[in-house]
Point group: C2
Chain length 428, copies 2
C-alpha cells in the first residue's frame, strides 16, 4: 500500500507537519498500548492482529465445523458485526458470487429486517440435503441487538424444522458473559468472545471477522500480517513516515476550512463494501457533539458517469482519497482488431491499462479544478493489502478523534432511536 | 406513493408556498411539452411513459429474442445507460440473485473496466450450451463511451469464439445515426433508438430501460402506469397538490441555509440501487457552476448501525428523505416461543412490524434532534410504485434546476477527465 498526498492535498507541508506534531502524546499512548499487548484500553484493537491465541482458537473451530460439503455460511449480525467481514469477503469472492454460481462456500449476510429475504432463506435451507452444507455465525457484541435477535430466532426455527436439531451448526460471537453467551451455553452452542474494550467498528481482526473469513477459505495469516506491518508504521512519531497521521491531519485541516464530506473514490469496484466499512468507522467515531465529517463512497469509473460532474463542477466541499491498484493482472485485452471501431485508442489495450488511464485522467481533472485529494495505491487487492488498509484507517480515525476532540470509541446518540423503537414494539 | 413533510421539514409553510410559486412559468412550459407529446424539448423525457409505439417496438423485439432457455442478459452500459435498469431489476430480482441461484433470466451488468470480471464472464459464456441462453444488450447514447466500447469488443469476441456467429444475440441501444448504430447495421444487429433530446439520466423509461426489463420478465405496463400518473400529478400548479414542487422547494431552501447533503434513507434494502440511480440524477443535474448538493444513500436499518450516530449527533448539514413501505407482507414472524430470549419485545412479532417500529423510532429521534426530513411511503415495491417514484424524482430535479439557476440537462465538466484519459491512452 502506498500513500501519496504531496502537491495534491493543497495544504502547506508546514501546516500538515505542525498538525501531526499535536499527536505526539497520543502516539506515545498507542505505543504503550501496543507494548502492554492486552485488551485493557479503548485502543486495544491495535493488538488484535498479534493475538496468536485468538488465531489458534478460530482455526481450531473452523476445523471442527467446516467440511467439504459446506455451501453456505449465514452471517447474522449488523454494523460492526458484519461490515468488516463483508468488506473482505466481497473483495475476493462476494463481488463475483452471481457470475460464479458454483463456487462454495458462499457467505450470506443477514443484517436488517427483511421478510422477503427470510422467506427465500427458508427455501434455501429446505433445499439442502445435509446440515453440513450450512453453518450459521451469529455475531452481537452486546448480545441484545434487536435485528440480530430476530434473525437468529427465525433462522434457528428453520434449522430445527429442517434438521430436527442443528445446534452444532451454529457459532455465536459475543462479549463474555452476555445474555447471548449464557443462552448458547445451555445448548452447548460454540461461543467465541470479543474483548470487552474492542468496539464493533474496530473489531474486524477479532473473532468477529476472523471466524467467518477463515471458515470461507480466507488467508487470514496474510490479512493479519498486513495489519501488523501497518500498525507498526502508524505508531511512528516522525510525521513523514506515518501515513495515518498525515492523512488524518489533511482530513482535519480541510474540515476546519469547511469541507464536511470525505469521499473515498475507489477504482477497484470489488472494494465497494470496504468503503462501506469505512463509512461506519468514520461516521460513528467522529460524528458527535455537533461535529463530524460525512463519509461517501464512490466507485470508479462507474461514478464518473454519475456524480463525476458534481465532483468536478460543483462546490468545493470535499476532501477525496483515490484508491486504486497498480501492477494488476493484464490477463484480458481488447482485441487487436476491433469490430465496432467506436473508440480509436483502445484496440489491443489490456483492460487494466484503460482503467489506469481513467485514473490518470481524473487526477489531472481534479488538479485543474483545484479539488484536493490523497491517493492510496494497492499493489493488489490481496488479503495482506486489505489488512494494511483497514489497520491504517482505524488508527487514522483514532487520530481524527484527537484532532476533533471527540471520543472516537462511543456512540451515545444511537440509543435515541433504539429506545423509541423498543417503546413502539412494547405497546404494538 | 405518499409524500409527507408537514411538521418535519422544519420550514414555514408560507416560505415553501412562495418558493413553489416561482415554478409557475416552468410548470406551464412542462404542460406545453406534455401536450406536444414529442421529443423536441430538453424535458421531453416526461413523454416517454406515454409512448405506445416505443412499447410495441420493445415488446416485439423481446418476442423475437427471448426464449425459455434464456439464462443471462448481459447489460453493457454505464451511468445513465444502466443505473435505472439496475435500480428496477435489483428491487425485484437482483437483490436476491445470490440466494436464488436457479431463477432465470438474470441480468448481469458490465459497466466499468474489470479484467477479473471479464475473465469470469468468459468462463460463464464458455459454460453455456446454446446461444439462446444468452442475450447481450449494449447501451450507449453517444455510441462512443470508452468503457462500453471496450466491454462490447471483448464480449463480442468471446461470443464469436464460442458460437462462431452470434450477431443475432446482440441488441444495441443508441442515438439514431451514431457510429454504433452504423456499425451494428453492417452486421444486421438489431438497434433500438433513444430520442436525441432525452439525456442518459432521464432515459429509464426509453428503450434504455424498457428493453432489458421486458426481456427479463418485468411488468413494464405497470411501471409506465406509475410514471404516467405521477407525471400528471407533478404538472399541477397548486402547490399542495404537487409533491415534486414541494420536495424541490424544501431541498432548495435547506441548501440556501447551508445544508449541502441530501440523504435518501431507504428502509427497503432492495432499493439501494434506486438510491444510486437518484445519486446520478441529482449529482449530475445540479452539480455545476460551483453549485450543487451531494446525494447520499443510506439503508435502514443497516446504516443506523453505521452512520446513524453521525446523522443524530453530528453537524446539521443534511436534509433527509425517509423512504419506506407500509402494509407490506407479514409472511414471516418471530416464533411465539423464542429460544434465546435476548430481546423481550420481539416474540411473535411479524418481521415487518419490527422494521416499522425502527422507522418510527428513527423519526422520533430525528425530531428530537431537530434534523429536518421528508417521507416517501411506498404501498409496496411494485413496478407501479417504482414508476411513480422515478418520475417524481426526475421532475423534482428539473424544478431544482430552476431554483438553482443551472441547466439540469447538461454535464460540461465530465469532458475534463475524458479528454485527459484519451490523451493518456493515445500515447501509452
Amino acid at each position: 500500500m502506498k500513500f501519496l498526498y504531496k502537491d495534491s492535498a493543497l495544504l502547506e507541508e508546514k501546516n500538515i507537519k505542525e498538525t501531526v506534531n499535536l499527536l505526539n502524546g497520543y502516539i506515545n499512548h498507542l505505543n504503550d498500548v501496543a507494548q502492554r499487548n492486552n485488551y485493557e484500553d479503548s485502543e486495544s484493537s491495535i493488538n488484535l492482529s498479534f493475538d496468536e491465541e485468538l488465531l489458534k482458537k478460530v482455526v481450531g473451530l473452523k476445523e471442527k465445523k467446516v467440511t467439504k460439503n459446506l455451501k453456505y455460511i449465514l452471517v447474522i449480525g449488523i454494523g460492526g458485526s458484519n461490515l468488516g467481514t463483508k468488506a473482505i469477503y466481497d473483495s475476493v469472492f462476494g463481488y463475483y458470487d452471481v457470475i460464479e454460481k458454483e463456487r462454495y462456500p458462499k457467505l450470506i449476510f443477514l443484517d436488517t429486517q427483511d421478510a422477503v429475504v427470510l422467506s427465500k432463506i427458508k427455501k434455501l435451507i429446505n433445499s439442502l440435503s445435509s446440515k453440513d452444507e450450512i453453518l450459521v455465525n451469529v455475531i452481537s457484541k452486546s448480545g441484545g441487538t434487536t435485528e440480530t435477535a430476530v434473525n437468529l430466532e427465525v433462522v434457528y426455527e428453520l434449522l430445527q424444522n429442517k434438521f430436527s436439531g442443528a445446534d452444532d451448526r451454529i457459532v455465536i460471537t459475543t462479549d463474555r458473559g452476555s445474555k447471548m453467551q449464557k443462552s448458547a451455553e445451555t445448548k452447548n452452542i460454540e461461543v467465541l468472545n470479543i474483548p470487552q474494550k474492542v468496539g464493533g467498528r474496530y473489531s474486524v481482526f477479532s473473532a468477529v471477522g476472523l471466524f467467518p473469513l477463515v471458515a470461507s477459505g480466507f488467508n487470514v495469516v496474510e490479512l493479519r500480517r498486513g495489519a501488523q506491518n501497518m500498525r507498526n508504521v502508524c505508531l511512528r512519531k516522525i510525521s513523514e513516515d506515518n501515513p495515518a497521521a498525515v492523512s488524518a491531519a489533511i482530513i482535519y485541516l480541510h474540515y476546519k476550512h469547511g469541507k464536511n464530506i470525505n469521499d473515498n473514490f475507489i477504482f477497484l469496484p470489488q472494494l465497494e463494501s470496504l468503503g462501506k466499512w469505512y463509512r461506519q468507522l468514520l461516521g460513528e467515531s467522529i460524528g458527535k457533539d455537533g461535529k463530524g465529517i460525512t463519509p461517501t463512497v464512490s466507485i470508479g469509473s462507474t461514478d464518473l458517469h454519475s456524480v463525476g460532474q458534481l465532483y468536478l463542477g460543483g462546490p468545493k466541499d470535499k476532501i477525496t482519497t483515490f484508491i486504486y491498484g497498480e501492477n494488476l493482472t493484464n490477463q484480458i485485452s481488447v482485441p487487436e482488431k476491433t469490430v465496432f471501431n467506436l473508440v480509436d485508442v483502445i484496440p489491443g489495450k489490456p483492460i487494466q491499462k484503460v482503467m489506469d488511464a481513467i485514473v490518470g485522467g481524473v487526477k489531472i481533472a481534479y488538479r485543474k479544478q483545484n479539488a484536493p485529494f490523497m491517493e492510496i495505491v494497492f499493489n493488489n487487492a490481496s488479503e495482506e493489502a486489505l489488512g494494511e488498509f483497514m489497520q491504517f484507517k482505524m488508527i487514522e480515525t483514532m487520530f481524527l478523534g484527537v484532532f476533533m476532540d471527540v471520543n472516537a470509541f462511543d456512540q451515545p446518540q444511537v440509543e435515541l432511536y433504539k429506545t423509541e423503537t423498543k417503546k413502539i414494539l412494547s405497546v404494538d
